[in-house]
C-alpha cells in the first residue's frame, strides 16, 4: 500500500486521490483507475476498477461511498475494501474467486465537493455543492436526485432542505456521471452497493414504495446471510429489509434507480453506529466497522456467484 498510509484514520480527499493514483501505479494487474467525469466544482470523479484483468467476459459489482459528505465512515470502508482485496487476493480463496470472476467498480468518494467541504468548512455538510442562482442555499441531496419516482415522498422541493431533490433528475453532475456509467454497463453489473451512515442497517429496494421486489426471496436471503456474517465478527446487530419499511420511504435514491435499471441486487448499507457517536464515529472504530462490513460484502458477492 502507500507507505505509511493508515486505513484506520479518516483521510482528506487529496490523500484518498493520491492513494488511488499510487495503487493504480503499483498494481496494474488488479487495479485500473479512471475518471467518469467532473463534479460541480470541477473535481475528477475517480473510479477504481478492481479485479484480475481478463479478456473473457466478466460481470461486475459497483460500490460507491460518500454520497452524503458527512458520513466519513463510508469512504473509509471503500478504502478498506480495496486494501483487503489486494492484501488477501493470494491468500484468501474467496477473495481470489471474487477478483478472478468479477470486476469491482469502486468509487471511494462520490460527493467529492461535499466531502472536501466537510473537511474544510462544515463537518456536518450532507449535500453536493451546486449553486442555484435563484436561491441562497447550496447543494442537492445526491440520494434524492436519481430518476426514479423523483422528488416524491421523502424528498423536498425546497433548496434549503437537506433532502432537496434538485431542480430536475440527474441535475448534479456527479449523479449524471454515475448514472451514465451504470446505464452503459448495466448488463454486466450484477450488484449495486452504496455505503452510508449511520443506523446499522442493510437495505434493499424499494425505498419509494411499500411493495415487494420481484426477486425478493433471493435478495432477502442474501441480505439475511450478510447481516449474519457481519454479526459474527463483533456481535453487532444490523437490521435488514426493504428500505421503505425498515427505514423510511424516500424517492429518487440511487439504490432504487440501480434496481429499476436492471441491476438485480441493489443494497444500501447504513454503517455504524446507532447514534452514540453518529457522524463522529471515532477512528478507533474504523477497523471493527470495516472488518464486519467486509464479511457482509464478501457474503453478498459470493451469493452473486451462485445461482439463486
Amino acid at each position: 500500500s502507500l507507505p505509511g498510509y493508515s486505513y484506520e484514520v479518516y483521510h482528506s480527499l487529496e490523500e484518498i486521490q493520491n492513494w488511488m493514483h499510487y495503487l493504480n501505479k503499483t498494481h496494474p494487474g488488479l487495479i485500473h483507475m479512471f475518471s467518469i467525469g467532473k463534479s460541480y466544482e470541477g473535481r475528477s470523479l475517480f473510479i477504481l476498477k478492481l479485479g484480475r484483468r481478463s479478456r473473457a467476459y466478466k460481470r461486475a459489482v459497483w460500490i460507491d461511498c460518500g454520497i452524503h459528505a458527512r458520513e466519513w465512515i463510508g469512504p473509509a470502508f471503500c478504502q478498506w475494501f480495496v486494501k483487503e482485496a489486494l492484501q488477501t487476493y493470494r491468500s484468501d480463496p474467496a477473495m481470489r474467486k471474487m477478483l478472478n470472476h468479477l470486476y469491482f467498480y469502486i468509487m471511494p468518494v462520490f460527493n467529492v465537493d461535499g466531502y472536501h467541504f466537510s473537511w474544510t468548512n462544515d463537518r456536518f455538510w450532507r449535500k453536493t455543492r451546486s449553486r442555484n442562482s435563484r436561491f441562497r442555499c447550496r447543494g442537492v441531496d445526491a440520494n434524492r436526485n436519481w430518476k426514479v419516482n423523483w422528488c416524491d415522498e421523502g424528498a423536498s422541493f425546497h433548496p434549503c432542505d437537506d433532502t432537496y431533490c434538485g431542480p430536475f433528475p440527474e441535475s448534479e453532475p456527479e449523479v449524471k456521471a454515475v448514472a451514465h456509467f451504470l446505464r452503459k454497463r448495466r448488463k454486466h453489473i450484477r450488484a449495486y452497493l452504496s455505503f452510508h451512515a449511520y443506523a446499522q442497517m442493510l437495505l434493499y429496494p424499494y425505498s419509494y414504495k411499500y411493495a415487494k421486489i420481484p426477486n425478493f426471496s433471493c435478495v432477502e436471503s442474501a441480505a439475511y446471510n450478510a447481516v449474519i456474517a457481519l454479526h459474527s465478527a463483533y456481535g453487532v446487530r444490523y437490521r435488514h429489509g426493504p428500505a421503505s419499511s425498515t427505514l423510511y420511504v424516500s424517492s429518487g435514491s440511487s439504490m432504487d434507480w440501480a434496481y429499476k435499471n436492471g441491476i438485480p441486487y441493489a443494497f444500501a448499507f447504513e454503517l455504524r453506529d446507532t447514534g452514540h457517536f453518529g457522524f463522529l464515529l471515532p477512528e478507533s472504530l474504523i477497523k471493527p466497522t470495516c472488518t464486519e462490513t467486509m464479511l457482509a460484502v464478501k457474503n453478498i458477492t459470493m451469493h452473486l456467484l451462485k445461482k439463486c
Partner: protein
C-alpha cells in the same frame, strides 16, 4: 481550533416523541430553530416513536431545551459539546501519528 471553533457549545440530542402531539411540537421547534437533523434525514419523517437526533447550535440550545422541558418532551444528550468531540478525535489522531 478545527473549523474555526464554530461548533463550540453545540450539542446533539436524541428525542423520541411519545405522541403525535409531541412529534408536532418537535417539528415546529426544528423549523423555528433551523436545527441540523442528523436522523432521520428529513423532519417530515418524524412521528410518534421516531428516533430523532438533532444537532442544536450553542446560541439556541438553551432556549430550545427550555422549550422542550416546557412541552415536557424527554430528551437525552448524545454529544454535549461537538467542538470538544471534534478536537478530541483530532488529538487522538495526532497521538496515533506520533506513535
Amino acid at each position: 481550533y478545527l473549523y474555526n471553533n464554530r461548533y463550540a457549545g453545540d450539542k446533539v440530542i436524541r428525542l423520541v416523541p411519545e405522541t403525535e402531539g409531541e412529534a408536532h411540537v418537535l417539528k415546529n421547534i426544528c423549523h423555528q430553530f433551523k436545527v441540523d437533523l442528523w436522523q432521520p434525514s428529513s423532519i417530515s419523517y418524524v412521528s410518534e416513536g421516531t428516533v430523532t437526533d438533532v444537532h442544536i447550535p450553542q446560541n439556541g440550545s438553551q432556549i430550545l431545551l427550555a422549550f422542550l422541558q416546557q412541552a415536557n418532551i424527554q430528551y437525552t444528550v448524545l454529544i454535549a459539546d461537538l467542538q470538544k468531540a471534534l478536537e478530541k478525535g483530532n488529538s487522538l489522531r495526532a497521538q496515533r501519528n506520533r506513535r
